[in-house]
Symmetry: C2
Subunit: 228 residues, 2 copies
DNA sequence: CGTGGTGTTGAATTACCTCAATAAGCGTGG
DNA sequence: CCACGCTTATTGAGGTAATTCAACACCACG
């Protein structure tokens, strides 16, 4: 499980890439020195561990990543899933506050944190972008606090499915990139409860399943489950 | 409960104050135009509501504030308590994403959000401070996600007590500034469970109580309850 | 002294968990 | 293409931590 792999991101990939964000809003705009290096991880490979020095910042190109925290007895809380286009691993402070692992074979582009910080110290525009990213992470975390603190199992799962759908393009038919365990550890439930809840939602006609991961949502019904 | 009070913070308090943060790290340093206006709220008074335009940013001077989110059926999650020295209400985006209310009679200093944003657009230093604040909020929220998703009632209450103690100065004897309901709604529990857990912790010798709010912690014991 | 808000305690209920068995995917190699 | 083994997912039965409902105690304040 804990694949102890030492990254040496300085050696590989010679092709450097300047990386923009979503069309229009280039990431770290106007900072030519902030170029990213492509990098890849295998399924279940650790990208960085909690407590390690935060040397890099990552942007998902293909695949998916989870970040989590663990208690010493193994209880785990997944704080976020990161899909193509998402940035993760951006800390201020010297160390990572959680662990990141690839859900599947994943390509990322990495940036040196120091470089970003130096750019932010000079450019108000870059610094504002960092603020924006932290703020949107904060919004997500606060919404999730409400979910974890006050919502029932069905509500959690329904909310989660709609969220993933949206982030995957909103086609309402897709393959979940994560296991039941990952979902459970994100929603503060057990795998069994997640599984049962999927079954229940299917019975209620709120979704269709094909082979575990593949789902097709009836969004209106799901929305009625969450109702707020 | 929902005291609908219209604030007109433009009219009152003539005494303007420039406000620094913790000693050494002045808040919005080097920005003389960012001065705060003192303002006060009564116990249980709403400071701003979810969805309202985010016109001001607030810094607690005396008293205490809670910020929360609600579901339409009334379930509530308190996302944070704000004690003297803390900043709250800082959004990026036009509207507040939660409601803020005074726990007790509270004095704050308010800043115009636009002013701060304008300063950030010009000064990398100010922008970096905004990033820092958002990032520390994010760290808190992520720790709290772990608590809400994976910890038992005793662990939640014990963690909470140690946190409040620390933020109040770490004397381990203090009066909780919030009700059982507030604590419950912060920890994702019911008032009864919080109450029972206090009793249990007292039996276990992890704390002493005097009249509901007043507590005296045996920190070593509490730490053993949380254990990690 | 009442009165209303706040906190505690008890008894019964329940949503979710734990333990355990079975089934369904899925990659590998014959 | 099927058999095999391994991982992942589903389902059932029983247990439990936390909730719900309800009664009572405690102040603070008129």
């Amino acid at each position: 499980m804990a694949a102890e792999i030492t990254l040496s991101p300085t050696s590989p990939a010679t092709a450097k890439v300047t990386v923009g964000g979503k069309p229009g809003t280039a990431l770290f705009a106007g900072c030519p020195e902030l170029i990213g290096t492509p990098f890849a991880y295998d399924r279940e490979e650790e990208i960085y561990g909690e407590g390690e020095e935060a040397e890099f910042v990552y942007k998902v190109v293909r695949g998916a990543v989870r970040t989590h925290k663990v208690l010493n007895d193994g209880r785990r809380q997944i704080t976020g899933f990161h899909l193509p286009g998402d940035l993760f691993g951006l800390e201020q402070g010297e160390t990572h506050r959680h662990t990141a692992e690839a859900l599947s074979d994943t390509q990322v582009v990495i940036f040196k944190r120091r470089g970003i910080e130096r750019a932010a110290a000079r450019s108000a525009e870059v610094a504002c972008q960092l603020w924006t990213m932290a703020a949107s992470g904060l919004r997500y975390a606060q919404d999730h606090m409400l979910l974890l603190g006050r919502r029932s199992a069905v509500e959690r799962v329904a909310t989660f499915l709609m969220e993933v759908d949206e982030r995957l393009g909103g086609t309402s038919t897709f393959a979940l990139p994560m296991t039941r365990r990952d979902i459970a550890d994100h929603l503060g439930l057990t795998i069994e409860t997640v599984s049962r809840t999927f079954s229940q939602l299917e019975e209620d006609g709120a979704l269709l399943r094909a082979g575990g991961r593949q789902v097709s949502l009836r969004r209106a019904r799901l929305r009625r489950v969450v109702e707020d």
